[in-house]
């Protein structure tokens, strides 16, 4: 039985030239787990928002949506609140109240339930999600993962028929994201709740879905079981941009072009590789190593940190303790580490806003203290914060750029470099996450920094934007700029970095080229590497793995 039937749905935002949704026809079965994928701007969020009356954007609609065989539009506010739950991307913004328990009760209060019933329902859900340990906490003291879990639970207390999730893990670190997606899978399995989810991070959930729907330009271009859809998507021209975000095993399958059953998990990928590789690789490490890394010259020391200690308050714990590290010009260095391992703090220390209580930092060979009166920011260091919105003060992108530099030539050059030419007249807050980041990057490039700090630059970006970002950063380092990135994103670090380091317990534990670094890690490594090592390869990205496999010889099915 279909819970949602979408019939010939088209939609255009007011004043838009293109339809955001173009003749969409879909049946969502009751109790199924459906994944909507496609690159940013393909219309998946717009489609999802059409399934909940209160969130449907304003514009011209054509076609209709049936919910339980009745028009969705006829649902009362009460029914809609109860039967259709929605969780959005930003965990912080969805939290309304100050205490965890009052947040859980919020929806049930709206429905007018009495105290006893509310208490029973929230107790039940709190136990299911493991919230009982922080049930009485203030909401602002929770971690990002806990906040998003709370948002999910606050919706689930209403016992909805359908759960709609719009990129719920985009702002979370990999561990929290995995926990969240596991909770979603458990909800689907245990309660039979129908789940529709849009995601960029497909590795964790792809295998558990019943249905994968691929969208492009507002239209559904493919739908089916994950295995079938994946097998079709990797060879289809249309679905290329969506397929870039597919699990490593699927992309490997596509790259080798063997045909047969498509693997979707790391485990299946490893089995697949064993079956299809003629002989174990005899190639040495050096041959597979990223070519860029080996060619690049070391451009001298950009930042040198010696035995650094830092804490935020006199009586708090050390965030950095005995940290020594060096960063070179002409290199992209990725600092990896779990939540609260001190990555952002380290960037703050290099950027001059956190002062060490012991140890020294040298920037371009000079002690950081010797940069007086903000001269550190005169063409030496510039930093891109986690939320690019924090840099925007004007109402168009071009004014943002003029705010930094008066020189028209410089501005023109940066616009070329970052590719923001099409965005100049837009309001910075109207841009998508990826576009905002480009605009913010353009803004900081105008200060002509020799060292660029980026804090979690891939948060919420799709695979397409990540590639663009990585290409842009490589161009900058080719000109001798030092790029220092703090990130959770192992896959991004594997493709973009010249050097990776792992931060743990306030210090740098290991540092090296991506191949050495990820080759030595078991858990903290890319999915491609986990597949590769089972067959004796040491590649860390899908692309290099495919290359290595092809070199070693691939058996067709």
């Amino acid at each position: 039985m279909a819970l949602f039937s979408i019939k010939n749905l088209s939609f255009a935002y007011p004043g838009a030239k293109y339809r955001a949704l173009d003749n969409v026809n879909l049946e969502i079965k009751k109790g199924s787990l459906t994944l909507l994928c496609g690159r940013s701007g393909c219309g998946k969020t717009t489609l999802l928002k059409h399934l909940k009356n209160e969130l449907t954007p304003y514009g011209t609609v054509d076609g209709e949506i049936l919910f339980e065989d009745k028009p969705l539009k006829n649902l009362t506010l009460m029914e809609s609140a109860q039967k259709i739950g929605f969780v959005m991307q930003n965990a912080d913004n969805q939290i309304v109240t100050d205490k965890v328990y009052s947040e859980l009760a919020f929806g049930l209060e709206s429905l007018g339930l009495d105290g006893g019933a509310i208490k029973r329902r929230i107790a039940e859900m709190a136990s299911f999600f493991g919230i009982h340990r922080w049930f009485r906490f203030d909401t602002h003291k929770l971690s990002g993962g806990q906040k998003q879990m709370l948002n999910l639970a606050s919706v689930m207390v209403m016992q909805p028929e359908a759960l709609l999730l719009d990129e719920p893990t985009a702002q979370l670190d990999p561990i929290a994201a995995g926990e969240f997606l596991n909770a979603v899978i458990r909800i689907n399995n245990n309660f039979g709740t129908t789940v529709i989810i849009t995601e960029h991070r497909l590795d964790e959930i792809f295998h558990a879905t019943d249905n994968v729907i691929i969208m492009n330009g507002g239209a559904v271009i493919d739908a089916g079981t994950p295995r079938e859809t994946a097998a079709r998507a990797v060879i289809s021209q249309n679905a290329q941009s969506a397929a870039r975000a597919f699990p490593a095993a699927v992309r490997l399958y596509g790259g080798l072009g063997t045909g047969g059953e498509c693997p979707v998990t790391v485990k299946e990928g490893a089995a697949y590789l064993k079956k299809h590789i003629n002989r174990p690789p005899s190639v040495s490490k050096k041959n597979i190593a990223e070519p860029v890394a080996s060619v690049k010259k070391n451009g001298g020391s950009a930042v040198k940190i010696t035995e650094a200690f830092f804490r935020y308050e006199r009586d708090s714990e050390d965030v950095l303790s005995d940290l020594s590290a060096s960063f070179s010009f002409g290199e992209i260095t990725c600092v990896l580490g779990g939540n609260g391992s001190g990555k952002t703090t380290l960037l703050g220390c290099i950027g001059g806003i956190n002062k060490l209580y012991r140890g020294r930092i040298e920037i371009s060979g000079r002690k950081i203290e010797s940069y007086k009166n903000g001269s550190l920011y005169d063409g030496v260091i510039s930093s891109l914060p986690q939320n690019p919105e924090m840099l925007f003060v004007n109402n168009t992108v071009i004014k943002e750029l003029e705010d930094v530099a008066g020189n028209a030539e410089d501005i023109e050059m940066v616009i070329q470099e970052t590719g923001v030419a099409g965005l100049l007249d837009s309001h910075p807050f109207d841009l998508s996450g990826g576009e905002q980041q480009k605009a913010a990057l353009a803004k900081i490039l105008l200060t002509k920094p020799k060292i660029i700090l980026l804090d979690e630059p891939t948060k919420g970006l799709d695979a397409f934007y990540k590639q663009g970002l990585s290409a842009l950063l490589k161009k900058l380092t080719a000109n001798g700029v030092a790029v220092i990135i703090s990130t959770h994103d192992v896959e991004f670090a594997a493709t973009a970095a010249d050097k990776c380091m792992l931060l743990f317990d306030g210090a740098v534990l290991s540092a090296g080229s991506p191949v050495d670094f990820f080759g030595g890690n078991y858990f903290y490594t890319s999915a491609a590497n986990r597949i590769a090592r089972s067959a004796g390869f040491d590649s860390v990205t899908v692309e290099t793995l495919i290359e290595a496999c092809l070199a070693a010889g691939v058996k067709a099915n």
């Binding site: 100050d98 919706v155 510039s382």
Partner: protein
Amino acid sequence: MQIRRRSAFAECNPLTIMVFYITAIVFTMLITHPLYVATALISSFTFALLLKPRAGLKFFLSFCLPIVILVAAVNPLFNHLGVTILFYFNDNPVTAEAVIFGAVSALALAAVLMWFSTYNDVMTSDKFMHIFGRIIPKTALIISMTLGLLPKMQKRLKNISDAQTMIGKTRTKGFFQKIKSGLRILSILITWSLENGIETADSMKARGYGLRGRTSFSMYKLCRRDKILLPIFVAVAGVIIAGLITGAAYGQYYPKFSVSSFGIFNLLVFLCFALLCFLPIIIEITERVKWRYSVSKI
């Protein structure tokens, strides 16, 4: 980390606690009989010591005591009512009545301050919310949202100012530049918060906000102890009000010092007041004894 000392009185229902503080503070302010004032001060001070021995003593010595001395000293210097002249100060009479009134009202003030000092520990914001949520659910939600929003804004402000610093935008040379850079940060904070507010509104709508008949959920329930305490507070308050009306607890200072004499009814009124003031202490101590006893059996 040290576990925070638990307070038995603080575990009562917020309504019980609120009724206690309202009656105790109002009567402490209204009654000027020295015996009552002394009772209020002793009980409020003892209760503070029970809840937080060090901080309570510190608050009393460093904050209440100076105020008491000041008020007690100032009143006779500026107030020349009263018939018993002690001596002349700068050609102005200093009367015994003014001295006594100054001392008594200073002690009453100290008692009220001491009540308030424990009020903050016992009546936390969520308990206050519980009571207001019952009366006006909408306001309660607004307070709760505000309490949730403030730390969020604080964090954002810090992030924005750091981000602006790291692109060299907060360097300031003069006063006006400082203001300009502050306004810049504030403007980003407001734009950004409004932008985020849209999502919060969506999240509220999606969970049925705006439906009629919204209830207010709270974690507190009325226990047996509250069901005993509340009637006691009400009865005691009734007796004291009767006493106030009939003049069983008056203290008069001008022109001549006189207080209500001791009769059976007057004694009853006083005992009621003492019971009211000492109830939290009684609860606190009996619970601690019980606790010791049950711990000793483990």
